[in-house]
């Protein structure tokens, strides 16, 4: 054996034990400060951009939560509403209130009889204004036979006008609201007959071509169904795949192929998944078109790679000593994984799930191929019914000519973000519960 012990002289060769250059130290500390600043800047930049986006969305969209109503004195005469005098709710509901409303308007502004002018006058009210009257009557059947002041929905243009989106200064030709209509509206306003109410219909209605009637509920339910399917498929499949590849599969050519393959799937454009869904689910299996069931499956396939990749990274990061500890006590590999490794990897898995689901929530392109980019007025009742999802609704509204849809579009984005925040909040809370450093 050689004697490696250094001689005392060896130690003294290095002049002073501390050869640290103070200039270097200063530089290093400056670098440290800068680095930290970069980090903070990065986070703040990202947050700032987010705020910018949110501000622009909210400032454009918050008005959609309000709706202009006009108070109109409607003579609810019994002959029209309830000629048989049964006073049963069904009969009251089945009656037509459009005529009454029109009569009321004409009474308010006598002397209008040109066909065109009449149309303009009726156009002040929303296309479904008669339902407001009906609801008022159903709420209080005693009103029948009296003249009641009922708040009915104004049309989208009138609504826009009162929200300040239409200016009177523009020449009449270029204005959606003509001078006569303005004069009527002024009358209403001086009579204090213009009120604004919270736009409940936005949350309870399905899609409509009339901005004042259009609601988000159909899309919310569609998204809910779709994402439920997506999550139910991609989370277990993704996690199981990740576990298999990371913990059980031997490292050989096969697992390499699977790994590359999964990474590659993440790069496949989403519309191609739509093509796949069209070919497999619709054409081969004959599943219904436009259904959340199919949409969910397509999105699940699309989300799968994200979850698998994130889960594998998370599993890999669990220290082997934990696995040894469990195996040493006589846990099987399966038990080791499910009792110890998986819970420790959960934060990472959930991150992947959050990102994947967020992507699925905002995706439109693949749904185009399977018929979910559609006008669907009815609220879907099951996973097999035709439905759209929130981003599609946003996409459709954003492409509508009517000005009234501008604020609806932003409002729908706000709803989608709220949806996202709720979804993420659940996952984030779960993630926090699993998080620990060792």
């Amino acid at each position: 054996m050689t004697d490696n012990t250094p001689h005392p002289e060896d130690l003294s060769t290095g002049a002073s034990p501390l050869k640290i250059n103070p200039l270097l130290l200063k530089k290093r500390n400056a670098r440290e400060t800068r680095f930290r600043l970069y980090g903070l800047t990065a986070v703040l930049t990202a947050v700032l951009v987010l705020c910018l986006l949110l501000t622009s969305i909210i400032s454009k969209g918050y008005t959609a939560f309000e709706q202009t109503y006009i108070l109109i004195d409607v003579r609810l005469n019994t002959q029209t509403i309830d000629p048989k005098g049964t006073n049963r709710l069904e009969d009251l509901a089945a009656a037509s209130y459009k005529g009454l409303l029109r009569d009321a308007l004409r009474e308010q502004f006598p002397g209008i009889d040109g066909r065109r002018e009449k149309r303009q006058l009726y156009g002040i009210l929303g296309t479904a204004a008669d339902y407001d009257v009906r609801d008022a009557v159903l709420d209080n059947p005693k009103l029948v036979g009296t003249t009641a002041t009922i708040a009915v929905k104004a049309s989208d243009d009138v609504d826009s006008y009162f929200k300040g989106y239409i200016s009177r200064d523009v020449p009449e030709d270029n204005r959606k609201i003509k001078d006569v209509e303005l004069s009527w509206l002024d009358t209403f306003e001086t009579d204090d007959r213009i009120i604004k109410k919270f736009n409940m219909d936005f949350f309870t209605n399905g899609d409509s071509r009339e901005p004042e009637e259009a609601g988000i509920l159909g899309a919310v339910i569609g998204s809910l169904y779709t994402l439920a399917i997506t999550l139910a498929l991609c989370f277990p499949i993704g996690v199981l795949t990740a576990i298999y590849l990371e913990e059980f599969a031997p490292t050989n050519r096969w697992t390499d192929i699977i790994e590359v393959n999964i990474n590659n799937l993440a790069a496949v454009p989403s519309i191609v998944f739509g093509l796949l869904g069209l070919a497999i689910f619709l054409n081969f299996f004959g599943l219904p078109r436009s259904a959340p069931l199919v949409g969910g499956m397509v999105l699940a396939l699309m989300t799968l790679p994200t979850i698998i990749i994130a889960s594998r990274a998370a599993l890999k990061a669990v220290p082997p000593s934990i696995r040894e500890a469990a195996l040493g006590i006589g846990a099987s590999r399966m038990q080791t994984v499910f009792h110890h490794v998986l819970p420790l990897a959960m934060p990472g898995i959930l991150t992947g799930t959050i990102l994947g689901m967020a992507q699925a929530l905002g995706e439109t392109a693949p749904l185009l191929m399977i018929g979910m980019v559609a006008f669907i007025a009815d609220i879907p009742g099951s996973m097999g019914d035709a439905a759209t999802v929130l981003p599609v609704q946003i996409f459709l509204w954003a492409d509508s000519p009517e000005r009234g849809f501008v604020e609806k579009t932003s409002a729908a984005i706000m709803v989608l973000l709220a949806f996202l925040v709720v979804m993420n909040a659940i996952a984030v809370i779960l993630r926090k519960r699993f998080e620990r450093r060792w």
């Binding site: 959606k176 071509r209 980019v373 559609a374 006008f375 007025a377 009815d378 954003a398 492409d399 000519p401």
Partner: protein, 319 residues
């Protein structure tokens, strides 16, 4: 299936959905599901066959092509054609700039890839509008328009560009001798950045026009109608793109819109006949109908009567 399924053109989509919604509200039938797949995509789905998994109606912003008709027939689909009205294709710019007055010839010169200069075809040399004609503003040619994959672009090229090309004697002669070569010239839009393919989101184009007053946009009339306070339609061949002008056929760049009904499904999918009836009622497509409010330019009264009869009688289309 107890619900009508409609596919097809994005241009007809706003009208079709409006009718669908009204139809759903005023009748006992369910509201039809209307998909926006583009005219060609709609045809593809529509002609794929008969049965509940196939749509009942397809919308188109152009007439069905012979090849599509053949495919339909081959798959046992017989169809009824319904022409529903017109859509004007407008060129528009921001109100902050002055309104353009153009001829088709100028449009062609501004946008074609190759233009005749001194009898020879050269790559489009015009950078500013004023290079084409002194009367036009001295600003860069910058046109935001639909991509080649869109029906609107097709129609625009056919109506405006080809119309403009025909005004050149040399090209007119070429058209007689070599139709293909003529079309290549007339239909090819420049790719040097003066024409910007801006996707099919027309609202986006309008917002971009607002942000950039120098730019000119190409889109359907209904968007101009809704945004008349911000943008103005260019005058083409002396006619302003207004409701009346387009309806009267004075405005040259307009096309017909259609929908096609699958006859085999009539009677089996509930409500198809009633839907056709609702669509072809005066209340909907008439001069004072609600579709006019949405920007559809109605057919002349006589045409309406004729189409209505053939549609309600489910007359088979033959080509």
């Amino acid at each position: 299936r107890d619900q009508i399924r409609i596919v097809g053109s994005s241009t007809v989509f706003p009208f079709s959905t409006t009718v669908a919604e009204t139809f759903g509200k005023t009748t006992g039938f369910k509201t039809p599901v209307v998909e926006s797949t583009g005219s060609g995509g709609g045809m593809k789905l529509f002609c794929a066959g008969v049965g509940v998994e196939h749509p009942d109606i397809t919308n188109a912003s152009r007439r069905i092509k012979a090849s599509e008709y053949e495919k339909c027939t081959k798959n046992g689909v017989s169809i009824t054609e319904v022409k529903i009205g017109f859509d004007g294709i407008v060129l528009a710019n921001s109100k902050q700039s002055e309104r353009l007055t153009l001829t088709k010839k100028q449009i062609f010169l501004a946008l074609a890839k190759q233009v005749p200069v001194d009898g020879k075809m050269v790559d489009n040399p015009y950078q500013n509008w004023s290079d084409i004609d002194k009367s036009l503003p001295n600003s860069k040619i910058e046109v935001l328009g639909p991509p080649p994959t869109s029906g609107t672009r097709d129609a625009f090229v056919e109506l405006a560009m080809e119309g403009g090309a025909k005004t050149f004697e040399s090209l007119k002669a070429l058209r007689k001798s070599d139709k293909k070569a003529f079309k290549t010239i007339a239909h090819t839009i420049r790719e040097d950045g003066a024409y910007v393919e801006a996707g099919e989101n027309d609202n986006l184009i309008i917002q971009k026009l607002e942000a950039n007053p120098k730019a000119v946009g190409i889109f359907g009339f209904s968007f101009l109608d809704q945004n008349a306070d911000k943008i103005q339609g260019s005058i083409v061949e002396g006619a302003e793109p207004t409701f009346e002008n387009i309806a009267a056929g004075d405005y040259g760049v307009s096309r017909s819109l259609y929908f096609y009904v699958k006859k085999e499904h009539v009677g089996s999918v509930p409500g198809i006949e009633e839907f056709v009836k609702a669509f072809t009622s005066e209340d909907a497509w008439g001069d004072e109908g609600y579709l006019a409010d949405k920007g559809l330019i109605p057919l002349p009264t006589a045409d309406r009567e004729q189409v209505k009869n053939s549609a309600r009688g489910l007359t088979s289309l033959s080509m």
